[in-house]
Symmetry: C2
DNA sequence: TTACTTTGTATACCTTGTTGTATTAGTAAA
DNA sequence: TTTACTAATACAACAAGGTATACAAAGTAA
């Protein structure tokens, strides 16, 4: 059994309760609010930055890679994801700026730059996993 | 208290256990596998379609709108999200094709086309919520 | 000195997706 | 008949983002 199938299987076996929990929380809010289009627009605006940052190409791929490999260098990420240097450099900077990853330079010799997840980054990946595996299942 | 703050507060109060549950599941898998770069690459490839579909612009916004408004017409979505007709039309078609939403035409005057979430779409939104609120919090 | 590695940066091109504007089809109301 | 509304579609133009290619700094080894 491949890693993918195994991961998917375990995620699926627990997803129902996760969904039920969230749904309960959510419907409690909805019941007590009449949601106007304006509320909805505000709601979406407040989430927009996260949307844009997290869901652009490579962001989650990078975070997931870091989750599975702990600490990792620039070239290794590049090799695994087959991503352009420029693109990778930009994304890493952006993820670091927003507190998802740390960048540690080991001066020396040999020079080495290690990237790793912060706790925010780690939790973000963990929360993204059920979503990804659930939607890709069916 | 606005809807946004209230949602965020409730999500936050429960997010720790959700994360803990997922982490436990996840680390159980990791411990028993030595993950090679090839495994990782395969893993990411298998999720790529979901990445691309779900995380492109407007997809989650549309799903979230449907979640909050139940059944809704084309123009209403357009008005709420301020999205171009063409773009909205494309996205709705794509989401329908992949089983996230249903499209129901009421022929008789007046003509009306209703969009609503399938259970897959609904669960997808529910799973996306903690991720969005968590990452936008800090 | 020369060659090689790692970690990027610089430049310019190109693709993709999104938008604005206009248009169509069907129906109803004035 | 004209106007208005819903649900799209058509097409040109634009902007953002990603890519290829090349190159640079800093160090190591032969």
């Amino acid at each position: 059994m491949t890693l993918t199938t195994e991961l998917r299987k375990i995620v699926e076996s627990q997803i129902d309760q996760v969904i039920k929990g969230i749904e309960h929380t959510f419907s409690r809010i909805i019941e007590t609010h009449k949601i106007t289009p304006t509320d909805l627009k505000d709601e979406l605006d407040s989430l927009e930055e996260t949307f844009n940052l997290l869901f652009q190409k490579w962001s989650l791929e990078i975070l997931y890679t870091l989750q599975l490999k702990n600490s990792i260098g620039f070239s290794e990420i590049k090799k695994i994801l087959c991503v352009n240097s420029r693109t990778l450099s930009d994304k890493l900077k952006m993820l670091q700026k927003h507190g998802y990853i740390t960048r540690t330079v080991t001066v020396g010799p040999p020079l080495r730059v290690e990237y790793a997840l912060t706790s925010k980054g780690k939790n973000t990946v963990l929360l993204a996993l059920p979503l990804l595996y659930y939607s890709s299942a069916t």
